[in-house]
């Protein structure tokens, strides 16, 4: 955590008074701690994207190409003809304000331009002045304004303060989705090379090496082998997963966060143990080694470019279908975009669980099944045995990750698994879970180090609900099914709700799952001693 980040006591003093000047007359002051570093030329070049150059946010001169206004307005015109969503969202907003206080960034910052309605007006004002008669004639009186450099910088500042979580879209009476507007404005900004480093760099690495962190194939294998060593120590079972194996039945794809850093690796150990216990005929890929897709935070084309590798690899390996790990925006892309962008994959088959025989008709075209769907089916069909007491040292709450909540609607599958493997489960208040869930504050590529104040502000609403169940029920663990969550929450919890750890669902499952031939478990997946299994500790709980 950075030194200049204000203390929680100070940060939670949120000033909700509106500025005395109208929003068009209030210039955006780019504040350190809120914005991320600029993208570097080499990363823009790696994807052959336009206007690569090194520039600094702090400088007045962003080295824009001379005809930058033309580029943006042409780009906007093109997208108004290509995306019905954009045109509808520009035309139908009545500024009722239902979205205003739904955004976690507004709740945590009080900055009026973080109200989704105003975030959209930043673009809509330019749309009015260039694409509507009233705006052209009446100008500012009807909320129109020209595209100046100040406006462009304001766009950059505020559209990289949206995590595309879609909470506002749920409450909007016309379904106006700020995520869609953010995606398109970021796409426009990328025409000028105005990405952020935390997005552009992973995209470049993912494109070239295969995952966001640029982990080369041998290193990825090593990392997973290392997890298998830990599994051996904990369970006595040696697992030897395969990589790039042709003829496997299933290609398993997950976010790279799961195989390189804590606490994601514990979830990854969970996958490995589950697949081993089932004797699943599956393979990892070092080429399509990334489920996450930071291209999606760049442009539709970049999203497609990175996503294309998944089907290409599935075809090359000759698998029957794809199983996807616990990741949020990966599943937004797999669920709502993959089949359209790079499908239909006629070389694959409708997924059938080899263990239960269940056909996943809901994935009949995309041929990609979410691991929580897969596992919930296994448990329902009684294919796994558990000793949930091994999770008794955990008092759990569950965070619905935005993308699987509002871009898919997966609520019951993870809860079903949790309730089978964990005895102590407490829901957060209903206004903060399921479809109304709050973002971690670090999604859509904003999980950098330099924007820590933004992340803590953005995650305030989520953390506040966690703190509530921590204080009320003694919750000490927060489960989620998103790799960005798992990366962002430890810092967020430390800041707002100390003493709450972060886990994935398949880590909990692996703790409780009784494996064939396992030795007596004395440690959980993290290698920590299981206190509850010692007789003298029994009954101490609660």
């Amino acid at each position: 955590m950075t030194d200049d980040l204000p203390k929680p006591e100070k940060l939670s003093q949120i000033d909700l008074t509106m500025p005395s000047t109208g929003w068009m007359d209030t210039p955006a002051l780019l504040k350190k701690g809120i914005f991320c570093h600029a993208a570097r030329a080499k990363d823009i070049e790696a994807l052959n994207m336009p206007n690569p150059r090194d520039w600094r946010v702090e400088d007045d001169d962003w080295k824009l190409p001379e005809n930058w206004q033309e580029i943006i307005l042409d780009g906007l015109r093109e997208r108004l003809e290509k995306f019905r969503s954009l045109r509808i969202f520009m035309d139908t907003c009545v500024r009722c304000g239902a979205c205003a206080d739904k955004c976690h960034f507004f709740i945590g910052s009080g900055d009026p331009k973080n109200m989704p309605v105003l975030r959209a007006e930043l673009l809509r004002s330019v749309y009015r002045s260039n694409f509507t008669g009233a705006g052209k004639i009446m100008g500012k009186m009807v909320g129109a304004r020209g595209l100046t450099e100040k406006v462009l910088k304001e766009w950059w500042y505020y559209f990289f303060q949206c995590t595309e979580c879609r909470r506002c879209s749920l409450f909007c009476p016309y379904g106006i989705d700020t995520a869609e507007i953010t995606i398109i404005v970021r796409e426009l900004l990328n025409l000028l090379g105005l990405n952020i480093d935390w997005i552009a760099s992973p995209v470049a690495k993912c494109h070239h090496v295969g995952n966001h962190i640029g982990m080369e194939p041998q290193a990825m294998k090593e990392s997973i082998d290392f997890l298998c060593d830990d599994i051996k120590d904990i369970t006595g079972i040696r697992i030897e997963p395969s990589f790039n194996r042709k003829g496997a039945e299933i290609l398993f794809i997950t976010s790279s966060g799961d195989y390189y850093s804590e606490p994601g690796i514990f979830t990854c150990m969970g996958y490995l143990m589950l697949f081993h216990q089932l004797g699943l005929d599956y393979t990892w890929s070092t080429y399509a080694a990334e489920g996450g897709n930071f291209g999606y935070f760049t442009s539709h084309e970049a999203a497609k470019l990175l996503n294309a590798k998944i089907y290409a690899e599935a075809e090359r390996l000759g698998v029957k279908y794809i199983l996807g790990g616990e990741c949020g925006h990966m599943w937004r892309v797999l669920n709502q975009y993959m089949d359209t962008m790079n499908g239909p994959p006629d070389f694959l088959e409708t997924p059938v669980s080899p263990v239960t025989g269940t056909r996943f008709e809901n994935a009949a075209s995309t041929k990609a099944v979410h691991i929580c769907e897969f596992t919930a089916d296994l448990i329902k069909e009684d294919k796994l045995t558990f000793d949930p007491k091994r999770n008794d040292h955990i008092d759990l709450t569950y965070h619905d990750s935005c993308n699987v909540a509002r871009g898919m609607g997966m609520f019951e599958e993870p809860r079903y698994i949790i309730k089978k493997v964990c005895n102590n489960f407490y829901e957060m208040p209903e206004e903060t879970i399921r479809e109304q869930t709050f973002c971690c504050g670090s999604g859509a590529g904003l999980h950098a180090g330099e924007d820590m104040e933004l992340r803590m502000r953005g995650g305030f609403a989520r953390a506040n609900a966690v703190r509530h169940v921590r204080d009320k029920h003694g919750v000490n663990m927060l489960a989620c099914i998103c790799a960005i969550d798992r990366a962002a929450f430890p810092t967020l919890m430390e800041y707002w709700a100390p003493e709450v750890g972060v886990t994935g669902i398949h880590e909990l499952l692996a703790n409780a799952m009784i494996m064939d031939g396992e030795k007596e478990r004395t440690q959980d997946i993290r290698g920590e001693d299981l206190p509850n299994l010692e007789p003298e500790d029994k009954g101490d709980k609660h």
């Binding site: 709740i107 090359r316 709502q336 359209t340 009949a364």
Partner: protein
């Protein structure tokens, strides 16, 4: 806040114009026939043009906002109208938005407490209440007006009128819908003026329709309850208008011309303003598309191929490292030309 002033001035001018036009210049035919015709034409063609424009733009991706449990495993209960997976369910979802304002009904409001107490959430249904009251009162009022357009008046109109006047107060009877309409518009206006963040986001475009509606409802009420107009003459004019044989009788008071001019303004303004939201809900891809993306292929008409980094290029670069790590290769190192 200047937007409020502009909007108010605009509506005052819109009241003055027909008053001067009819009282001072005697332009009854212009305000009673030509302008209403023009307004109706603009409304009709404007809305049509807008809808055609929208419908011609493709939906490249299926992006419903899911508000409930997806359809997945058989034994998990799907939330059919908040997360529709079939056309029928989508229709249900859209209708629930159109008639019940489903999404607005979800509204809740965070209350940021003093330091340390955190955030709590309170249900905030008042916007939903105002909106429902306004739209249904508006609908009833417009529907009631059909009695000016029909001869004889059909029974549903009489029936609605009967219900609307159930209070049986006043002569002529007070119509609840008109009263509710005026109140709801005033509440919506008050909300925009009083709550700082709504005042902050409001534009002239938001105040203008509200003031216009207040003026329309007020002139309507004045005619009905206080000033009184020559109803048979007005009815003759309107039936003449809709049968394209306009008849202009003498003695229709200026209030009527003001009323109809304001309504004409509203109609002409409708297609080019935020009022078009009425049609937008049917086209909004987050509400009008099924969440069946994985089950049924959705085609993007402008989809184009991209040059992604191929496996071959990947293997070429990492060949040695992969060989060393024991990761299988497509091209066996031994069989490559140039190797012995």
């Amino acid at each position: 806040m200047i937007g409020v002033a502009y909007a108010l001035i605009a509506v005052f001018i819109l009241i003055l114009v027909p008053w001067i036009g009819v009282q001072g210049l005697g332009l009854t035919y212009l305000f009673g026939v030509i302008i209403p015709y023009a307004a109706m034409a603009i409304f009709f063609f404007g809305v049509l043009q807008r809808l055609i424009k929208w419908s011609r733009i493709p939906n490249p991706f299926k992006i419903p906002t899911t508000g409930g449990q997806q359809k997945s495993l058989d034994w998990i209960r799907q939330s059919k109208f908040d997360n529709p997976s079939s056309t029928g369910q989508v229709v249900g979802r859209v209708l629930s938005e159109v008639f019940l304002f489903r999404s607005l009904f979800r509204n809740l409001s965070p209350r940021v407490g003093i330091q340390g107490t955190g955030v709590t959430y309170a249900s905030a249904k008042w916007l939903w209440v105002f909106a429902i009251l306004f739209h249904y009162a508006m609908f009833t009022t417009v529907f009631r007006h059909l009695r000016f357009f029909t001869n004889p008046v059909p029974w549903p109109v009489k029936f609605v009128e009967g219900i609307d006047g159930w209070l049986e107060v006043g002569i002529p009877q007070v119509m609840i819908s008109g009263l509710v309409l005026l109140c709801a518009v005033c509440l919506l206006l008050t909300r925009r003026l009083v709550i700082p963040r709504f005042r902050y986001i409001s534009l002239m475009n938001d105040f203008f329709p509200l003031f216009l509606l207040i003026a329309i409802a007020t002139t309507g009420a004045l005619m009905r309850y206080i000033v009184g107009i020559d109803v048979p003459s007005v009815k003759e004019l309107i039936i003449g208008l809709i049968s394209f044989k306009p008849v202009m009788n003498e003695g229709i008071g200026p209030l009527f011309f003001i009323h109809i001019f304001l309504v004409s303004t509203l109609l002409a303004y409708f297609p080019f303003s935020k009022l078009i939201h009425a049609g937008g809900i049917f086209f909004s891809p987050t509400r009008s598309m099924a969440n069946d993306n994985r089950a049924v292929h959705h085609d993007n008409p402008w989809n184009y191929p991209v040059k992604f980094h191929t496996y071959d290029a990947f293997e070429e670069e990492f060949r040695d490292k992969m060989t060393e790590a024991g990761i299988p290769l497509d091209k066996d190192p031994a069989s490559l030309p140039g190797k012995d």
